[in-house]
């Protein structure tokens, strides 16, 4: 019991962080599933969502700021795809990836300019920021809400993909990009829709993530972004349940490592895990095997 009460806060923090990573990871895994692109800018869009929240709450009440933040972030995600990825659709994969790195560089520098390089205080959101006590451990309410909200959103998303027409189009596009085009699927709208969902989830993720931290810096998105990507790879890129499970595993492991006093290595651990999984099972936990045709 003593062990439990000592480690429960870390476990809960891990589950919570895992949920936040999961929301970002879905964006990576869906985009990769269709475009075979590691969207390096996704983490930075997540950071921008945080900044939008910071600035909008200074001029408007929080209940308007939250929906506004989500809408603006989604528009940003949509525009990034249209401006930076769509023109390169027939280019080699390396070019699109470089473009993604370019967007990431641009967003970070833009944030640096706007913030002046200073960490921006994230607004305290009422209710979810309240302190609650669970099994004798005190924590913020957001810690409890995150995993629940994550699972609800994932279930909604899975239903959307399984049951709706656009979901079917997305599945078709991720299976065979060219053939789905020939079958009359409007590939550009499918891709845009994928980015919209991805950024929508990242916007919600940022709301939950930054609540736990004091401030937003221009590089605040890079590390959670990379970790969420690792989670997506871990679960098998292209698979949504895989990404979610991977994210929870990474979130929990990371916080346990922090609990053991190895904070320096919490980031390194994630990458070590990535490398181990890539070598042992390159397709991740739930990924499908692809072979090159000779």
């Amino acid at each position: 019991m003593d062990w439990m009460s000592r480690n429960l806060p870390y476990l809960m923090a891990g589950i919570s962080v895992g949920g936040q990573y999961a929301l970002i990871a879905i964006g990576y895994t869906m985009v990769y599933g269709i475009l075979r692109l590691i969207n390096f800018a996704h983490g930075d869009i997540f950071m921008v969502a945080g900044l939008i929240m910071v600035y909008s709450t200074t001029v408007m009440p929080i209940y308007i700021a939250i929906p506004l933040m989500i809408v603006v972030t989604v528009i940003l995600g949509f525009l990034v795809e249209r401006a930076a990825y769509k023109p390169l659709r027939s280019a080699p994969r390396m070019s699109i990836m470089i473009s993604a790195i370019g967007v990431s560089y641009l967003l970070q520098n833009l944030a640096l300019y706007v913030t002046g390089g200073l960490s921006q205080q994230y607004p305290a959101i009422p209710w979810i920021n309240d302190t609650v006590t669970v099994f004798g451990a005190t924590t913020k309410r957001v810690t409890i809400i995150t995993p629940i909200l994550t699972i609800v959103l994932v279930l909604l998303l899975v239903t959307l993909i399984k049951r709706t027409k656009i979901g079917m189009a997305m599945r078709a596009a991720s299976r065979d990009f060219e053939t789905s085009q020939l079958m009359g699927i409007k590939i550009n709208s499918v891709i845009s829709f994928t980015f919209i969902i991805g950024t929508f989830l990242a916007a919600i993720g940022s709301l939950l993530f930054f609540t736990n931290y004091t401030g937003v810096t221009p590089t605040a998105g890079a590390m959670p972004g990379l970790k969420a990507f690792v989670a997506a790879v871990f679960g098998g890129i292209g698979s949504i349940p895989g990404a979610v499970i991977g994210a929870f595993i990474i979130g929990i492991c990371e916080n346990i490592i922090k609990g053991l006093g190895w904070t320096t290595f919490s980031d390194a651990f994630t990458f070590a895990l990535l490398i181990v999984i890539l070598i042992a099972k390159p397709t991740g936990l739930f990924g499908e095997k692809v072979t090159d045709k000779v």
């Binding site: 590691i38 641009l106 833009l110 002046g116 990535l274």
Partner: protein
């Protein structure tokens, strides 16, 4: 043009360049931004060419450059801090455990070797991965290296997360030019050898290359180790230039910058990488500085938006424009050479329709 004549031209040009640099140093004040650009540009040129060897010539998309630079920089710094300064540098670790110093050239090469050895070790598993997985795995390794070097337990060697300083640096701009120049020349010689041809074959078509009897694993590892060796040396040079180093400098953002330099110069062009690294450094450190000046007036008109950070925004926009609209970069896969220029003018004056500059791949 015969090979001999070509070599004579190249040697002449390099000599002229070094003399010019020397003269510049004698005449201009040493605080001139030009020297900053030249020094840092030469170092970045080396690391960009080393990255190009992998990404451009062998087709391996690796993002571990910052990690290998870190290894080179730390190895150099640790091995060259003078004995009398060790106690003050390693103040939290009783002067550290390394109690000897090496001469500068030896330490630079040791930095390269440290990076190469590490590349060899991680290359065994990682190089089996394809394109973007390789990129993310190498990026991950660079992050792990960074974490390990900041680890307190290794403090007696790495000084933990504290600065390393007091190691010898260079004053003259000629030094980085000579070192980077030699290294780049070696890379070019490699690219033009039969091994270079094998690398390019792997880039073009792995399956066909393998069917031509090229051992993929062996050649990929060679390219990876050699590229890392030179990244390590450039890391050592960077340490000399900065005069102090810290593991937190070598973030993935650094790798991204180098990648963007390679892209702007043209993936698969050595001279492109060199030209673009000087341009990149000049723009980011010098020419666009005015954009950071809040009180800029043009004829009484207060230019809006200008304040610290705006330079980098403009710069990032320019880079995006290059990535999207000039995907070939400055040079494409062509090389800048005396012969190319000679041909260019010949065509121009003989009135024939000219092809775009540059010269063959040989």
């Amino acid at each position: 043009m015969s090979t001999k004549k070509k070599n004579a031209w190249n040697v002449g040009l390099i000599a002229a360049l070094l003399i010019l640099l020397f003269l510049l140093e004698q005449t201009l004040p040493s605080s001139s931004m030009l020297f900053t650009v030249l020094k840092k540009g030469a170092i970045y040129a080396l690391v960009a060419v080393s990255m190009n060897l992998l990404n451009g010539f062998t087709g391996l998309f690796s993002l571990g450059q910052a990690g290998f630079m870190l290894l080179g920089a730390y190895t150099y710094a640790i091995l060259t801090i003078p004995m009398e300064s060790r106690n003050s540098v390693y103040q939290y670790f009783d002067g550290g455990i390394i109690q000897f110093t090496l001469p500068i050239p030896v330490a630079l090469i040791a930095g390269g070797i440290a990076a190469a050895v590490f590349a060899y070790l991680i290359g065994l598993p990682v190089l089996r991965l394809k394109s973007d997985y390789l990129a993310i795995a190498t990026l991950g390794f660079a992050e792990i290296i960074r974490a390990v070097f900041q680890w307190d337990k290794l403090g007696p060697v790495t000084n933990g997360s504290n600065l390393l300083r007091n190691f010898p640096s260079f004053r003259s701009v000629v030094f980085p030019f000579v070192v980077a120049g030699i290294c780049i020349a070696l890379i070019v010689m490699l690219i033009n050898s039969t091994y270079g041809r094998a690398f390019k074959a792997i880039r073009d078509d792995e399956i066909a290359a393998e069917a031509m009897g090229i051992n993929l694993a062996h050649h990929k590892r060679l390219a990876f180790v050699i590229s890392s060796f030179f990244a390590g040396i450039s890391g050592g040079l960077l340490a000399m230039y900065q005069t102090t180093i810290q593991a937190s400098m070598f973030k993935s953002a650094m790798t991204y910058e180098i990648l963007l330099i390679v892209v702007i110069g043209g993936i698969g062009s050595v001279t492109g990488s060199c030209i673009s690294s000087f341009l990149f450094i000049a723009c980011s450190e010098w020419w666009l500085r005015f954009l950071d000046n809040e009180n800029l007036y043009i004829g009484g008109f207060h230019v809006p938006f200008l304040r610290p950070g705006f330079r980098k925004v403009v710069f990032a926009v320019v880079i995006m424009a290059v990535v999207l609209f000039y995907r070939q970069g400055i040079m494409g896969t062509k090389e800048f050479s005396v012969e190319g220029i000679a041909d260019f003018f010949k065509r121009k004056f003989s009135g024939k329709k000219e092809k775009k500059g540059g010269v063959s791949h040989e």
